[in-house]
Amino acid sequence: MIARTDVAKERRLPPLRNWTFPRRMVEDHLGLAALLWLALLVIVLGVAVGNHIWDSVGGSYWDDAVSSIPQWFVAFMAGYVAYSFLPAQIAHGQTRREFAQEALVYLVVFSAGLAALATIGFGIEAAVFAVMDWPHGIDDGHLFTSSGQVHLIVAEYLIRFLVWSAAGFTVGAGFYRSEEAGGAALAVAWIPVAITEFAIGTLYGSPLVLFRFVWDPPALHPVLIVAIGLLSFAALVWGGWKIIHDIPIKTKSE
């Protein structure tokens, strides 16, 4: 072993750098999400208008859209962060721990941003329906029963997006590490996702939706559901960290 030269360390090396806000990831991905949200909102309102013309309007079309598509988008984008940003940032001097801290901030901010968009979508749809005097009901399988329960809408989508994004990040990191690690991460990561979706009571969009025909769990208190979601998120974050804490940065040929 070589003696540590503390004097040299103090004299020459700058202090430890803390993590910085992952501005690029957040701005890029929330910007894209906002565009997709706008497109989805236009489509949803278009469908409502179409139904009004040719049939009748019933329930919330935003509910159907925002409960079945965005979580896959969130998971994909978080997986992309692990697969693409991790090697680039470490290659330019960041440590894995610093990257993990930035990625965690990204997961939370991105999920919160999308939860806000989902909630705003309910509000806009409800307002349009109110103006048009159309009935605006919410399907079963949610923490909330009306678009006025903003805190419960935010809580549900925040929990859902946190868990799905953490799962996507973990799987993306696994596949960057190796195909075997990616396969293993995929095989494990769906479990906390499914647990959270079951706790919420999701009817569709869940990896285990078909199991609902076999067993439909009882409704849980919202606080307990949020706790289950946060625990699932924490488990996935821990799994992601275990994958990246010593991950080798590969060459293109690897």
Partner: protein, 292 residues
């Protein structure tokens, strides 16, 4: 200047041992050449020095501190590989520079802009639109403008045409003179770049073959040129690395320290004695049995 200490470094890929108890020290503040044949462990060594990979055994200390997961050290190191490390090849060059600048404490944006001009790169172009040579040039720019105290180029020139390669070598040298730091250049094109090296580290099969100043290394032999008969007589009994003949003139590269008496003998015989080309020494030292 960043000092590099490597002790008993070992790294394996499955059953293949890439680094096998490698040890050496670099005092820093110089331009080092890292030479080795394909598969000798050069890229693996650099990836461990830059904390891209964790070693299986041994120590890497940069200025006395371990490098792996040590942000105080890793932010001071730039390893530029043939494949440019960026988040997305859809990014425009200007965005890549922005990204790297945000991670590099000594980044010189003006210098980067001058290098873009010099290497004829359009900042509005996407990285994926660039030829292999231009992508290599982008890597060279990222490494140079980062001004990292320990800067390492791993075959960064691959794909560059000859003018770009010479520009790259000139930039390394001129920027090193203006902003002294520790620079390690891993290369196959030894003769092209040898002129900028102050010291050379040669590794083979994951082990150190030698680490010497270039002057000492090239004094390990000589190229003897003159009339064929006199050259053959002079080289008799010496280890011949290379020989060429044109008409009655012969040139022989011999390995081994020349004594003052041998120098005098060569001069008396009308022979020219020149330092041995680094590439010939490298080939000899890394050939089967050569290192012994």
């Amino acid at each position: 200047m960043m000092k590099v200490d490597v002790r008993d470094l070992t790294l394996r890929y499955g059953k293949t041992t890439a680094l096998d108890g490698l040890s050496f020290s670099l005092d820093g503040g110089k331009i080092y050449g890292l030479l080795g044949r394909n598969g000798s462990g050069k890229s693996t060594l650099l990836s461990v020095l830059a904390a891209f990979r964790k070693a299986d055994g041994g120590d890497v200390l940069i200025d006395g501190e371990p490098v792996f997961e040590n942000p105080r050290v890793t932010r001071q190191i730039a390893l530029i590989r043939e494949s440019v490390d960026i988040p997305d090849s859809d990014d425009k060059i200007e965005r890549v520079l922005e990204f790297v600048a945000s991670h590099r404490p000594n980044w010189d944006a003006d210098y980067a802009a001058r290098l873009l001009d010099g290497f004829e790169l359009d900042p509005k172009k996407q990285v994926k639109e660039l030829s292999r040579g231009k992508q290599s040039a982008l890597g060279a720019i990222l490494g140079l403008a980062a001004r990292a105290p320990l800067t390492m180029f791993d075959e960064t020139y691959l794909g560059m045409d000859a003018p770009s390669r010479y520009r790259f070598y000139d930039e390394i040298l001129s920027d090193y003179i203006a902003h002294p730091r520790t620079i390690v250049v891993s290369t196959h094109l030894i003769e092209e770049v040898a002129k900028i090296f102050e010291e050379v580290v040669i590794i083979d099969k994951g082990r150190l073959v030698l680490h010497e100043p270039v002057e000492t290394l090239t004094a390990r032999g000589a190229t003897v040129t003159g009339p064929a008969e006199q050259v053959e007589a002079f080289a008799n009994g010496l280890t011949v690395l290379n020989e060429r003949q044109l008409g009655r003139t012969k040139s022989v590269t011999v390995y081994g320290q020349m004594t003052a008496q041998q120098h005098q003998h060569a001069r008396d015989a009308g022979l020219d004695l020149e330092p041995v080309p680094l590439q010939d020494l490298f080939v000899y030292l890394t050939s089967k049995g050569g290192a012994q």
